[in-house]
C-alpha cells in the first residue's frame, strides 16, 4: 500500500494525467496545419494578391471589388437564398421521415428504412447529380411524364436554374437532416405523449407542444449541417446550374482558374464569415433549447 501512495505523484501519474495528449495530437495537428494555416494564407493572400506572382504589395482592392459591386452582393444573396431554401425543404421532408423511422417496430424494417435512406450517401455526388440532370432535363423522365399526363404542354425548365440546384441538393443532403433528428426523436418518451393526451391534447397539439420542442436540438443540428454543406457546395450547383446560377463557391472556382488568387481568397473568407455568422446565430437558439432537453435525458 505505501508504495502506491509514494508513486501517486510520480511519473506514472504524470503519464496518466497527460494520456489524452497523444490521442489528441493527430486531430489537432491536422486541423491546425490544414485549416488554420490555410486560413492564415488566405487572409494574407486577400491583401497581398500578387504574392504568387512576385513583389508583394498591400492592397484592399480585392475586398473593395467584391463589397463595392452590386453584382457580387447578388451572388451572396443567391448563395444564402439557396442555402435557406434547401435547408427548409430538407427539414420539411426529413422530419416526417425521421419520425416515421423511429416508429418502426420491427428491427428488419427499421434496417431496411436506414438502408434506403442512407445508401445514396455511398454514391458519388457527381453521379447523383448527373442522375438528376437526366431526370429533370427538358427531354427527361419528369417532363415526359408531366406531358404524358397532360398537365403541361411545354417542358418546365428544371435544370440550369435554381430549381434544379434545390432539387438535387435536397436529395443529396436529406440524410444529414434525418440522422440528427432521428437520434433525438426516439428519446421522446411515449409516456410524455400519453400525459399530454391525458391532459386534453389531441395528436397534433401533442406533437406541437411536446414532441417538436423536445426534438428541437436535433432539428437545429440537422439544419446547421445542411446549411453549411449547401452554402459551401460546389459540384452540384455547378452542374445543375449549368453556369447560369452564380454562387460564391462558383466565384472561387472561376477566379482560381483565372489565377486571380487575391479575389478568390476574399470570396472564400466571405463565405466562411457567412457560415460562421449563421452557425453562431443558431447556436444561441440551440443553447436555449438544449438546456432543458439535455437535462431531461440525464
Amino acid at each position: 500500500m505505501p508504495q502506491i501512495v509514494v508513486r501517486r505523484g510520480g511519473w506514472r501519474a504524470a503519464l496518466r494525467r497527460y494520456a489524452h495528449v497523444p490521442l489528441l495530437t493527430p486531430a489537432v495537428g491536422l486541423t491546425v496545419a490544414v485549416f488554420w494555416v490555410c486560413m492564415a494564407v488566405l487572409v494574407v493572400m486577400s491583401v497581398y494578391p500578387f504574392l504568387a506572382a512576385g513583389t508583394p504589395r498591400l492592397t484592399l482592392a480585392a475586398w473593395q471589388r467584391l463589397l463595392g459591386d452590386p453584382y457580387y452582393w447578388g451572388v451572396i444573396g443567391t448563395t444564402l437564398r439557396l442555402a435557406f431554401v434547401v435547408t427548409a425543404l430538407a427539414l420539411v421532408l426529413g422530419y416526417p421521415a425521421a419520425y416515421a423511422i423511429s416508429k418502426i417496430q420491427r428491427p428488419g424494417w427499421a434496417l431496411a428504412a436506414y438502408v434506403v435512406l442512407f445508401a445514396p450517401i455511398l454514391v458519388s455526388v457527381v453521379v447523383r447529380t448527373y442522375g438528376w440532370l437526366l431526370l429533370l432535363s427538358n427531354t427527361g423522365v419528369v417532363n415526359y411524364l408531366l406531358r404524358a399526363a397532360g398537365l403541361i404542354r411545354e417542358p418546365i425548365p428544371l435544370i440550369f436554374n435554381e430549381t434544379g440546384i434545390v432539387i438535387a441538393m435536397v436529395h443529396i443532403l436529406l440524410p444529414f437532416m434525418v440522422f440528427p433528428i432521428l437520434s433525438v426523436v426516439g428519446q421522446v418518451g411515449g409516456d410524455l405523449k400519453e400525459a399530454a393526451m391525458d391532459l386534453g391534447a389531441n395528436r397534433w397539439v401533442t406533437f406541437r407542444r411536446i414532441t417538436l420542442p423536445l426534438t428541437a436540438p436535433g432539428v437545429i443540428s440537422g439544419c446547421q449541417i445542411v446549411f453549411t454543406l449547401t452554402i459551401s457546395a460546389f459540384v452540384t450547383p455547378f452542374l445543375m446550374g449549368g453556369g447560369r446560377v452564380q454562387i460564391l463557391s462558383g466565384l472561387i472556382y472561376r477566379d482560381m482558374e483565372a489565377v486571380n488568387l487575391g479575389f478568390a481568397s476574399v470570396v472564400a473568407l466571405v463565405l466562411l464569415a457567412l457560415a460562421v455568422a449563421i452557425l453562431a446565430a443558431s447556436n444561441v437558439l440551440t443553447r436555449r433549447t438544449y438546456r432543458r432537453a439535455e437535462v431531461e435525458r440525464a
Binding site: 410524455l192 391525458d198 391532459l199 391534447a201
Partner: protein, 355 residues
C-alpha cells in the same frame, strides 16, 4: 350511492394474451379505490382503459353514467398520474400544471389562480417558476399530482405513482395522498402491487390476478375474510390447510384436515365439498394462550425466528400438519425447538375458501 366509474365485462386482449378478462367493477363517487395485484395481473391495463389510453377488446366502460368505452384520453374527464410521472422536461412547474387548463382555453388569470391553489394544496407554494430538473423526487411527485388534479377530473387515476420513491418518503406520501383525497373529495383509482400501500390508503380494494378480479371489498374485509386462496396469500400471510367440509349448519362448520376436525364459523360450500382453510399466522396461539380456543391440538416447536417485535414459530401438530405462528416476543418466552406446545385458534379465524 353515485357510481363514478363502471366497468361491464371489460376484456382486453393483446394478440393471444388476455390481459384483462371480463372485469366488472362499480367505483363510487369520492371513493379511494385500489386495484391491487402482482405485476402482469392486468391492473394497469384496466386503469389505462378507464383513462382512455387503451381500449377494451370487449365490454363497456361508463363514466358518471355515460358510455366512454371508445373515447380517447383527451375527451375524457379523467386525469392520470403516471408511474414515471411523465412531467414535461421543457416546461416549468407552472407550465406543466397549466398545460391542461391552457388547452381548455381558460382565462390567464383563472389559470394563474388555479395553479397557485393547487400548488398550495400539494404543499409546494411558490414553486411555479422552477424547472422540473430542479425538483427532488418527492416534489416531482407532487407536481405530477397537481398537474392532474388542477383539471378537476371526475376521477383521478394513479398508476403506482409512489413506486420510484424510497421507503420513508413513500410512507409519508401515502398518508399525504389519503389526506389530499379526503380534502378534495375526488374519486381516486389507485394501482399498486404493494398490499401494505393498498390497505393503508383504500376505502375499497379490488384484488386482481391473471386478468380477473378475485375480490372487491374494504381493507378490513379483504384481510379478515379473503374469498380465494390467492387473496388470502397475497394480502398478508396465511397457513393453508386443504380439507373437506364434513358438517355445515347454523351452529358452525366442521372441516376435516388430515384427521383433524377444524371448526369454522361459515363456509361458502356445502358438506362434502373440498375446501381450503386459511389461518393467519398471528391468529395461531401457542401454549396457555391456546387454552380457550375452539380449535386446540398439541404439537411440537420446530423452529423459532426472532424478528424484532414479533417472533415466528414453526410448529408441527401431532397429526403431521405444519403451521406458522406469529406472536409478540413477550409471549414467546420458553419456546424452544423440540418443546411440546399447545396450538390453537378461534373458530372465527379459520377462513374457509372455496376450492
Amino acid at each position: 350511492m353515485d357510481v363514478d366509474v363502471e366497468l361491464r365485462e371489460v376484456s382486453k386482449h393483446f394478440g393471444t394474451v388476455v390481459a384483462v378478462d371480463r372485469v366488472s367493477l362499480a367505483i363510487r363517487r369520492g371513493e379511494f379505490f385500489s386495484l391491487l395485484g402482482p405485476s402482469g395481473c392486468g391492473k394497469t391495463t384496466t386503469l389505462r382503459m378507464i383513462g382512455g389510453l387503451e381500449f377494451p377488446t370487449a365490454g363497456e366502460i361508463l363514466l358518471r353514467g355515460a358510455v366512454v368505452t371508445d373515447l380517447p384520453a383527451y375527451r375524457r374527464a379523467t386525469n392520470m398520474v403516471f408511474q414515471h410521472l411523465a412531467l414535461f422536461p421543457h416546461l416549468t412547474v407552472f407550465e406543466n400544471i397549466a398545460f391542461g387548463l391552457r388547452l381548455r382555453r381558460e382565462a390567464p388569470d383563472a389559470i394563474a389562480r388555479k395553479v397557485d391553489q393547487v400548488l398550495q394544496l400539494v404543499d409546494l407554494p411558490g414553486y411555479g417558476g422552477r424547472e422540473i430538473h430542479q425538483l427532488s423526487g418527492g416534489q416531482k411527485q407532487r407536481v405530477a399530482i397537481a398537474r392532474a388534479l388542477v383539471n378537476e377530473p371526475a376521477v383521478l387515476l394513479l398508476d403506482e405513482p409512489l413506486g420510484s420513491l424510497d421507503l420513508k418518503l413513500r410512507l409519508a406520501m401515502q398518508t399525504e395522498l389519503k389526506a389530499l383525497q379526503h380534502r378534495v373529495g375526488t374519486t381516486f383509482i389507485y394501482v399498486t402491487h404493494d398490499q401494505g400501500e393498498a390497505l393503508t390508503m383504500s376505502d375499497r380494494i379490488a384484488v386482481m390476478n391473471l386478468g380477473r378480479v378475485e375480490q372487491v371489498a374494504t381493507s378490513q374485509e379483504i384481510y379478515a375474510r379473503p374469498q380465494t386462496r390467492f387473496v388470502a396469500g397475497f394480502i398478508g400471510e396465511a397457513n393453508f390447510l386443504d380439507g373437506r367440509v364434513v358438517h355445515a349448519g347454523p351452529d358452525g362448520v366442521l372441516v376435516a384436515v388430515d384427521g383433524l376436525r377444524v371448526r369454522a364459523e361459515t363456509a361458502p360450500a356445502p358438506a362434502g365439498a373440498a375446501v381450503t382453510l386459511s389461518v393467519r399466522p398471528e391468529h395461531v396461539k401457542l401454549g396457555a394462550a391456546a387454552d380457550a380456543a375452539a380449535n386446540r391440538w398439541t404439537g411440537r416447536v420446530e423452529e423459532v425466528t426472532f424478528m424484532g417485535a414479533v417472533v415466528r414459530a414453526r410448529v408441527v401438530l401431532d397429526g403431521g400438519v405444519r403451521l406458522v405462528a406469529e406472536l409478540h416476543n413477550d409471549a414467546a418466552a420458553g419456546l424452544t425447538p423440540g418443546a411440546a406446545v399447545a396450538v390453537g385458534w378461534a373458530a372465527g379465524h379459520s377462513v374457509v375458501l372455496a376450492g
